[in-house]
Structure formats: C-alpha cells, structure tokens
Symmetry: D2
Subunit: 270 residues, 4 copies
C-alpha cells in the first residue's frame, strides 16, 4: 500500500519557505537575493506577511522591537533564563526557558491591547465618538479583568518608553505612513482612564500599549503582538543568560543560599 | 510520484507502543490488561525496558522515585516553575519550564554517577581491589571536574535520603535481588574520599549517588538515571507550581518587589 | 538599608516542603520516614494535597496514571520529544519539549471535563434530573466549542481505556470509596450524547473523560487533571525519547528526507 | 534577623540593564535615547557587548542574522513549533518549543565552528602555515566526531548562503573592517577538505561555517554563535507557528492521520 508522496508533502505544505537541494527561497525569494540586501527587521516582516515593508514602516516596527528588549532580572522570564544558564543546559535551552514564560500575564498584554484598540476602532466606525467607544470597551474589559492591557505599570509611574514610541507614531500619522486610528483609540482610552481616576495616580500607556499601537497601525493581527514581543525580549533573555554564564554560579536559586524559604502552615495551603 | 506508506510508517517505527483504531498496546500488551492490574512504577519499567519488574525490583525503583520528588524553592527548577505559574501559561508549561532546567549541573549528577560507578566496577572486574579501582576512577574524574557526581551536598552535611536508600539496597543484596557491585563501588568511593579528606568535613553520598546505586543495580543505563529523576522531580515541580497558582501572584519575580537588582559596573561584565 | 530576612523568606514560603541543613520534610513529614514506606502514587497525592490517600483511593489514582502513559508518535508531544532527542540536547530537555505541548487542545481536555462534570453535578444538586442537567451543560459547552471535552476520539471509535477505568470507579462507588456523582454526571452526558446523535457513530467517553471522572471523584480540582496527566504522559515521552536516542538519528525531521514539504501558494497564506 | 538588602540585590546584580521607577537603562543608556535612534541589530550588539557597533560591523552581523532565519519544516525545530501551535498553547510556548531544540546537533555547529577556526588561527599565530594549521585541527576534530562543524550539508550540495556571506566578509577585510584571520582559517579548512576528498563530492562551507566566520571576525565568543543563531531562527519559528495557527489543525502529528507508525519488533529495541 502506498500514499502519494504528495499527501505527505501537503501535510507540511508552507508558503513561508521552500527548500530544494541547492535552493532556499523565503516567501518565493531566493535567499542569496536577501542576504546583504534586506535588513533583519525587513526579513521579520517578510516572513510573517509575505511582502517587504517600506522603509518608514520598517522603522516603526524597528522602534517597537528595540523598546521591548529587556526589563531586568525582576522579570520572571529573565530571572528564569539566568537560573537555567547555571544548570548545565545549552544557551538555546536557557532562552527557551525564558520565552516559555512570556504567557498571557507576562507577554500577552500587547496582544490583548491590540484586540481592545481594534474594538474601540470598530465602535467608532459604527458611529460612537472616540470617547464613548473607549469608555464602552473599557467597561466591557474591566468586567472581565482588573487589568486593562497596555495601561499602567506595576513599577513605573510613567513608562519611559511611552513618549518616544508615541512620538514616532504621531510623526508617521502626520506623514501618512499609517492611518492613526489605533493611536486615537489608545489616546481615548488613556484620557477616559485619567478622568475616571480623578486625582488618583494616573495609569498612562505602558510599553505593551505603545507597541500595540504600532503593531496595530502596521496591520499585524493581535497574536503577532505577542510573537513580535517574543522576538524583542529574546534579545534581553540571551544577554542576561550569557552574562550569568560568565559569573560561574552553579544551580543558582532565587535567593542567596543563606536564606531559607519560610514554612507555610498547612491551613494556608492552596 | 509516491513513497511507500511503509517508508513513512518506518520513519516513526517504535517498539514502545502500537496504536490502531480501537487498540492500544504498550510493549505489545493491550492497555486494558494493564489498567488496574499493573502499578505506575511497573509501567514506568515496562515502557522503558519492555518487560515487567519483580515486586522487589519495583519496590527498589519506587524508593528511588519517592526520594527525589522535591527539594524546595531554593532549587532553580522549582523556583522557575513557580514563577512560570504566575505568568499566564498552562500548568503543563510551568512543569516543562522546571523540567527543562534539570540539566547536566542540576539533574545530571545521577547519570554521571552511574557512569563513574560502572567504571569502578569494570576496573574491579579487571583485577583491581575495590579501593584501588575507586581511587583510580576518582583521580580520573577529579582531573576533569571539581565535582565528584553523587557525593557531597552544598546544603546538607549529610543528605538525609542517603541512609534509608542504602539500607534498602543492602537488604536487596542480602536477599539476592540485585548483585551489589555498584553498591560496593559507591561505598569504596565514599571511603576513599573520607580518607583523602582526613579530618575535614566528610562528603558522603547524596541523593544522586544513592539513587544512582539503585538505578545501576537494577540495570538502567546511565542516561535513564536522569530520565527517572525527571519523572520523580516532576511531582515536586507540579506541587509547587500548583501551590503558587493558588496564591494569586502575577508575574512573580525572584525577589520581593521592593528590592532592585544591583548595578554591575561595566568592567565586571562577562 | 536592609530588608528583614523574613521578607525574602516569605516571598518563597511554601507548605509543600521544608528544607534545612540535614533535614528534608515533605508536607511536614521527614523524608526518611517516607522512603521505602510510602509508594510513588501516594507521594504524588501527599505533595499535592498534604495528606496521604487510603489504599483504595491510591489504587484509583494509580489506574488513571497508568492509563494515560502513552499514545504513540502520532501524538505531537511524543513526536516532538523524539525529534528533540536527536538534536543534541539532554533527555530532560527532550521531555520538557513534549510536556510543553500538552496544552489546552492536547492535554487540557481532562481539566475541561472535570469542570463540565462539576457543572452537571451542581445543576443536579439544584434540582435538575441528571439527564436535564447533562443536556443543559452540553448545550452551553457546545455553544462555545465544537469539542465536548472527554467524549469521542479522533482515532478510536471506542477508546479501549474507557471500560476498565469506569469498571474500577463503579466498584469504588459500590464499596463506598467515592460518592459516584461525577460518574453519574459523565454517564448522563454520554447517554444524552448518544440519543442526540441518533443512529450516527456514537462518541463514548475517552481517556480524558474516564480519568476526569476519577480525578473529580477523588476530589482533585480541575487544573490538577491536567497536572496529573502530565505526570502520566511524561512516562511515555521519556520512553520514546530514550528509544529514539538509541536509533542514532541526527536532527530527525517529521518526514523521511526524500519528501520535500509542498509549496503553498501565496494566496493561501494564513 | 536580617540580611542586607544589598546582599539580595547583589545576588541579581547585572550590567545589562538597570531599572528604577520611571527609568530604564540598557548598558547604562536611557531607553528613551535608544528608541528610534538605534537599530534592532545594534541593540542586540549593545546588550551582548556593552558598546555599539560601527555601521559596517552592524551590517555584517545583520547579514548573518538574515541568512539563518529559516530552513523549512524538515528542520525538527520548525516542525515541532508548528505542531505545538496546534496544541492549544500560546505563541510564546510554540516558539520556546522550537528554540529548545536548537541543541548541539541542530543549533550548535556555529559555536563549534568558531572554536575550530580559533584553534586554526592560534596554530597559525604559533608559526604553522594556514594549511598545516587547518590540517592539524581537522585531524584532531575528526578523531572526536564524524562531523566537521560548519562544512558540508546533508541537503545542499552547495549551501546557497555560503557565497553571499563570504563575499561580504571579503569586502569587509578589504575595507579594514575586520582582520580576516578567521576567514583565512575557514578557507584553509575548506581547501584541505577538498584536497583530502580528491574527486569525491566536495563539502563546502555551510551556513554554520559562513556565519561562524562572521561572528568570529566580529569578536563574539563561541557560545554566542549559538545565541545569535537562536535570535535569527526564532523569526522562522514564529512565522511557521503563526502560519500553522491559521490552518486550523488540532493536535497535528508528524504524518497524515491515515499513516500508522510501524511496529518495531522487541529485539530491535534501543
């Protein structure tokens, strides 16, 4: 009995790349025409979308990728990658350990924020003012979660990455590179949130919100906000794992060894 | 063009299990004859080796699996799994995060110790006394590494798991369940090490050494010492990840949030 | 400036285990009292719940753990672990690769099924017949998903693990070991499903459903259905990764090397 | 009892980044001075090394990063990431699954090749001709392994990425951007290998060899050849995982479902 080779070949069919002996094509372009000709950010765009960005689109994507590379060892993904690097595994395994932790709570806010901004835009297109659209979507979101994805930061009163990123989007809107709808949606949410909190500490857009604006303005679907953040944060994860490797620790735990975790009484068990 | 179905089927050929519609065989035994009839430890043995252990062999393997289940959050694998559980990923991803860190330095000592004890036994079979064999292998090992796998513990002056495990092996040797060669090899290394250190703090066998004796006596090849340890420690990893889930933290870092990691001057970079 | 040591110790506080130099306690029991005394399945229960099961509770849990150990290389988790084992990583990394893939679609059905059965039981306690409760919960579930977790199998017309597992639960109900509410809930769903499908191919309970009944009857919360399945399937993942190691392949792909994945035209891109 | 906060802070000390409320510094540079000003490739260099590259150094690194992004679903890492994407895990978990498999055999050749080229250069500096140095190092390497890292490709008679990458290094040597010693070492190995094989099919430098030349010429230590490859290949892993997500499969195995893995007889067990 046989199956056609085509059946097996179709099971793994892909438009991303095509490889034959002596030939590598990425999105139907021979690799030798890309090496030295196309930048790393452009090839990210090409593989994900099938075409090449304009230089201004690429610059906007690049700024978002640069902004997210690292947030230090207080981030669980960075800490875990550093610990993994001391456990006798390859650098790739240490990076995978960190990337694996960029889940819904740690790396998913950008994805959720793109969804939220898209909802605001949809309501606005249906006739709501930006403010009314923002408030309705916020209400809906806050019914389901106490976190509004992309706004506020547990650590920074004002995320230092917000202003430079939004300035770049602003300029891109002015220059007609992107439409600006998601920027307006995000600003509407930020304003409504500030009014709602009255005199309380404001919760301005954070890195996830500002990069979500960029990814959404460039037309990336929500899950790719997380995917692109992974590419960005992988840089910091690698840098930290590599630095830790050079420090010679072995089986590094979360605390200096003299500190013993406390005993939780049985009645407090989860 | 076709390939034979057999070629594709052979690419994934296995003796571990065979699945057809309505039928599941593990090592050629129908699953319905195993459920409720064969214990969990026995099925571990069956899948790895193709036959079933005697009840005494199974009891020895079980003791080793029980001994290694947990060593608290100071272990990087446990800490990372707990942190992962707060990042918005599934419990399986949290477990994978911990297991991924059981590398050469964190989970590989048992594997290395089985290799070392086997070397001692081989020299003894070639005519060396146990002591001479142990000293020669130790010398060789210590030329390559400052750690002698399976001996000493950074935390416990005497690992509390050593004595009960070795007592079980002792009894199994007395009863003719296992041959005892790897036990003698380990004891020879432990004695030689104690003499070599003179009055200094002794470095008795640890959990990796004592379980390596068991795995080797039962005939498991060295890499399965790591594999079996992974099955054992997965229990603690799961229990800790689950407990953390119940505590409601989000993106838990390695330190309380008030503590900021220190700034390392550039000249100390790795 | 100082923080109290207690603050750092509390950040990692746990009731699962307590380690001090020379002492290891699991759920407040010295490890040396557990080794050789308590079985592997019992220690799983102990670490997750803080107490020890009765021998009949333990036997029921053991049957569920045995039933799920393997489903061959057609399962993506098994295939990925085998491929990982040929890529030059440790056996622990190969296992982690497989475990990481036991997500909502591959390893989460048990968890979802426990939730569903609990909903059925809650409605029954509120006065519905078992049948009415089952139909209402099924309707609700099927509005959200085309899969009813724990019922039907893409491969087996009738899962060979269903009958032996349910026979054990039946006996345990008869003997007063478990209450039987979740079993009745599952049977009600199975019957309602059969009637609804009329003469069409029935979709009987599968491994996820039958083990969900056991986990729920034993009082495990839904996420632990996934956690326990991970412990079980890790055995098969290890056995397959280890077998692959012995076959000497290097960088094994999903298809024999002569088969090239087909080229998907650009317009079919995701 | 207290520990100094500094002790905990020092445990996680790093030169990579420094975060305080309202401030993020990467290698002592405020993030707001990097966003929109520094490219993504430059920030990779900055985080790994602490300084910024010249534009020509950056272009060389960029070409290497572009060259390695993808090699299709026949690569186990790509296939596993695609399978993971159908299992109900986040896109970050799918990427981690692929990255985790870039081990010594799948992603480590670049690292090994940098080590080998550095050995050749060291012998040359000690007085050997390039050819004699290459032959001695090759002999030494081939005694330990049947693979010479960075040369030959199981799939491509001549890797299409070799020529464009080496042309860029050649130009950089001509222009005084890099010294060219590692390029000469690699060419010496390639020539010696061709002569040794006589009329047999030659084994020219592959992607791992050509990028190893670039990484070594730019001064990256060997393990970062693997680290940088991980950053590069993560792009293809993401693109494939994302494409698979759009195809709607669930629990995709390695073969079309009609093909059952063959039964391996017990005597062939590993």
């Amino acid at each position: 009995m046989t199956i056609s080779e085509d059946e097996a070949a179709q099971w793994w069919a892909t438009a991303v790349s095509h490889i034959e002996p002596g030939s590598i094509e990425l999105r139907d372009r021979p690799i030798q025409q890309l090496i030295g000709e196309v930048g790393f950010v452009d090839i990210i765009w090409l593989l994900l979308r099938g075409d090449l960005p304009s230089s201004r689109q690429s610059a906007l994507l690049e700024a978002a990728l640069v902004a997210g590379v690292d947030h230090g060892p207080q981030a669980p993904s960075i800490a875990a990658a550093r610990m993994a690097a001391t456990c006798g595994v390859g650098l790739n395994n240490a990076i995978a350990t960190g990337v694996n932790m960029l889940g819904d709570a740690h790396g998913g806010a950008g994805q959720q924020c793109v969804e939220m901004l898209t909802d605001v835009r949809t309501l606005h297109e249906a006739g709501h003012t930006w403010d009314a659209a923002a408030r309705e979507v916020m209400d809906d979101w806050q019914r389901r979660s106490r976190y509004l994805p992309g706004f506020g930061h547990r650590f920074h009163p004002r995320d230092p990455r917000r202003d430079p990123l939004l300035a770049l989007v602003d300029q891109a809107v002015t220059d007609g590179i992107v439409a600006g709808d998601h920027l307006r949606a995000a600003q509407a949410v930020e304003s409504a949130l500030a009014r709602r909190r009255g005199g309380a500490r404001p919760v301005p857009m954070n890195i996830d919100g500002a990069t979500a604006v960029i990814y959404a303005e460039l037309g990336f679907p929500p899950p790719l906000a997380r995917g692109l953040f992974v590419l960005s944060r992988s840089v910091g994860i690698l840098a930290h794992a590599w630095e830790e490797t050079g420090q010679g620790r072995r089986n590094k735990g979360p605390l200096p060894r003299s500190v013993l975790p406390a005993r939780l009484p049985p009645q407090q068990q989860a």
